[in-house]
Chain length 115, copies 2
DNA sequence: TCATGGTTACAAAAAGGTGCGTAATTTACG
DNA sequence: CGTAAATTACGCACCTTTTTGTAACCATGA
């Protein structure tokens, strides 16, 4: 998804959040400040190339803040900006909505009885 | 994004909604029932292969309902299911959030004054 | 024959993975 | 004391996989 087709904000957000990693990274960062290696541990299947690229993208979008420290082995910390924090409940809402969809379709009879 | 890495609903929704088209199609369908060719007209840059594939994906997820009619030139209508309708405000909220992010960073001074 | 909605095969493009290199400084070792 | 190794967070080049586009084809019925 290289460039946009419309100028609608919905398409723009999706360009930012599309893919496996962005929402997962935001989710892990909503937990608090993390280092690069923490995020690698959180999701072991991301390659370091992807991790840097996705973090950079989120940083450019103003959702993640990157802080670099002087010292021994280099140390960099990531956390959510205020905008990033505001995004978290919206992502959660999507997750909840999806749970609702599946609860209804996966076990319709049981669900009906339980209500 | 072929398969999932975790079993978290957030990753599952994003697998469904990732990419340029899903949210745009949902947005256009939130307008009411549309035919295949209406959706092509709504966003002229989608290839009809993509359109069928994306509609099929949304249908399988239970978000879009496909209705085929007998007759002349074939006629097929698409609209949102109840679950799909419930998704619309969540997508809108993402768009609004993004507008907010940009309003703040694109013109910080003006914004501050306007408040 | 035309239009509609769709499928299939092939090609192009984009996304993603692997592995090597690098910076700066501390520790370990002979 | 000199030096080599380890650590962390990347960048870069190369290659594979996945996604998307193109184009051609199919069925229906006026």
């Amino acid at each position: 998804m290289k460039n946009l087709v419309s100028r609608c904000p919905i398409e723009e957000v999706m360009q930012l959040l599309s893919g496996r990693w962005p929402t997962l990274l935001i989710y892990y960062l909503s937990d608090g400040t993390k280092r690069f290696s923490d995020l690698q541990r959180d999701n072991p299947t991301i390659s370091h190339k992807m991790l840097t690229m996705e973090l950079r993208k989120l940083e450019d979008a103003g959702i993640v803040r990157r802080t670099e420290f002087e010292g021994y082995p280099r140390r960099v910390e990531y956390d959510l900006t205020a905008d990033g924090e505001r995004l978290v409940p919206l992502i959660d809402a999507l997750g909840d909505w999806w749970d609702g969809v599946n609860a209804a379709t996966d076990a319709p009879a049981d669900q009906a009885i339980m209500i």
